[in-house]
């Protein structure tokens, strides 16, 4: 009798569970605002109910994270002390070679107010000019890389010749050997590096920086990255195709190095 009572109760509960599941499934398949609100309330309730579990898990994960971070701290402090010794050594060697100290770059921020992206000539106008301290042939860049140089000035505006302009050239250094080359724009966001010897080892994604030889550009401004390299037997130089790093077609503001 006891067993039949239990099975009877179980049958009832099972029937209730099945009917409630079916009706809840139907109910939650609706998209009415009441159901959306109800879903939100249920999820909020579940969040509150599950909070202690999540809190406990977080504590465990924080402990684990803390242990890993402590490990990292030890490793990084070792690395740091090594780097500090390198820095001291570098300073001492520079002093021995009479190197001049690095000068911080002084620049001005300007908004781009107009574009002229013709087939041959590509320029932009910025909202600072001569009275703001600008002069001709100042390098212009954005946060990604070189954009061009100032070519014409008025009191409160300046015209910038973009790196994609057909007449634009810039001397660069590339590779581990830091060999010299000339960047020449070709089409759109792309260009080529001329004058890079075949023997120079180059790899894709390597970045070409301004060489510092020119009077206009300071050294080490990122210009472009390599996207393809080919070597032809009859040519003394490599054919290096590069992609310009500066966001030429999405300019908002630029930096002019003074």
């Amino acid at each position: 009798m006891h067993r039949s009572r239990i099975s009877c109760i179980n049958k009832d509960v099972l029937a209730l569970f099945i009917t409630l599941s079916l009706s809840a499934g139907l109910l939650f398949s609706n998209v009415s605002p009441q159901i959306q609100q109800l879903k939100y309330q249920i999820s909020e309730l579940c969040g509150k109910v599950a909070y202690p579990v999540i809190w406990y898990k977080n504590i465990l994960s924080v402990q684990e994270e803390n242990r890993m971070l402590k490990n990292d701290v030890v490793q990084l402090s070792l690395l740091n002390s090594e780097l500090e010794s390198y820095q001291q050594e570098n300073k001492r060697l520079k002093e021995l070679l009479n190197f001049t100290a690095y000068q911080a770059v002084n620049y001005q921020t300007a908004n781009v107010v107009n574009y002229h992206l013709g087939v041959a000539n590509q320029t932009i106008i910025i909202d600072i000019g001569e009275l703001d301290g600008l002069s001709k042939n100042l390098p212009v860049l954005d946060e990604n890389g070189l954009l061009g140089k100032t070519i014409q000035l008025s009191d409160h505006a300046a015209m910038i010749q973009l790196i994609t302009d057909k007449n634009y050239r810039v001397s660069i250094r590339i590779g581990k050997e830091r060999v010299l080359g000339i960047f020449i724009p070709t089409y759109g966001n792309y260009g080529i590096l001329e004058g890079v010897r075949k023997t120079t080892p180059l790899y894709k994604e390597e970045i070409a920086y301004t060489s510092g030889i020119s009077e206009i550009y300071p050294p080490n401004i990122p210009v472009a990255k390599i996207i393809s390299i080919s070597k032809e037997e009859n040519q003394p130089f490599q054919r290096v195709i590069v992609e310009i790093l500066g966001s030429i077609f999405n300019l908002d503001f630029v930096f002019v190095i003074l």
Binding site: K11, D12, A15, T19, L20, S23, A24, L26, L27, Q34
Partner: protein
């Protein structure tokens, strides 16, 4: 439950369902309320047959009512009536133990709970005061409960209030 009783119950359920469709809307204090006579029928099923039968009946009637009366909240009646069926089916387990007054009180509480769940889902997300919400629940529960008592006293020989 043998087959003839099952058929009788189903026929009765269909009659009650048809009656429910034609039942008029009553205006009480500006609130338009339609009495749910299906829950009165469920009270008798719960009293005479038990939980399983009442749950199944509640779910079946609820789902038919859902598809017939509205489209925005399909499943609300089936959900609330299944729960009500479980509650009302308890009466069969304690038929000989519970006093009739307690049984009547229990039915009223079940009706209140039913209308609370139903209206909680139906009025969820709408700006309605708690007082009005409680008022709606009580009016609906009292209305259905009154119909049950009147019906039971006047027509049933061995009803829930005897």
């Amino acid at each position: 439950m043998n087959l003839s009783i099952v058929i009788q119950v189903i026929v009765l359920a269909l009659i009650v369902l048809v009656l429910q469709i034609f039942i008029p809307v009553i205006n009480i204090n500006g609130l338009e309320i339609s009495p749910d006579i299906l829950i009165i029928f469920l009270a008798y099923i719960g009293y005479y047959y038990g939980r399983l039968e009442t749950i199944i009946m509640g779910f079946s009637l609820g789902i038919i009512q859902d598809f017939v009366t509205q489209y925005e909240l399909i499943g609300i009646m089936a959900f609330s009536k299944s729960l009500l069926g479980y509650g009302l089916g308890t009466m069969a387990l304690y038929r000989s133990i519970w006093h009739r007054n307690f049984r009547i009180f229990f039915i009223f509480i079940m009706y209140l709970l039913y209308f609370y769940i139903y209206n909680y889902i139906k009025l969820n997300g709408t700006t309605i005061s708690s007082l009005l919400f409680i008022k709606i629940i009580f009016i609906q529960a009292i209305l259905c409960f009154s119909i049950l008592i009147i019906f039971d006293k006047s027509l049933m020989k061995n009803g829930v209030s005897r």
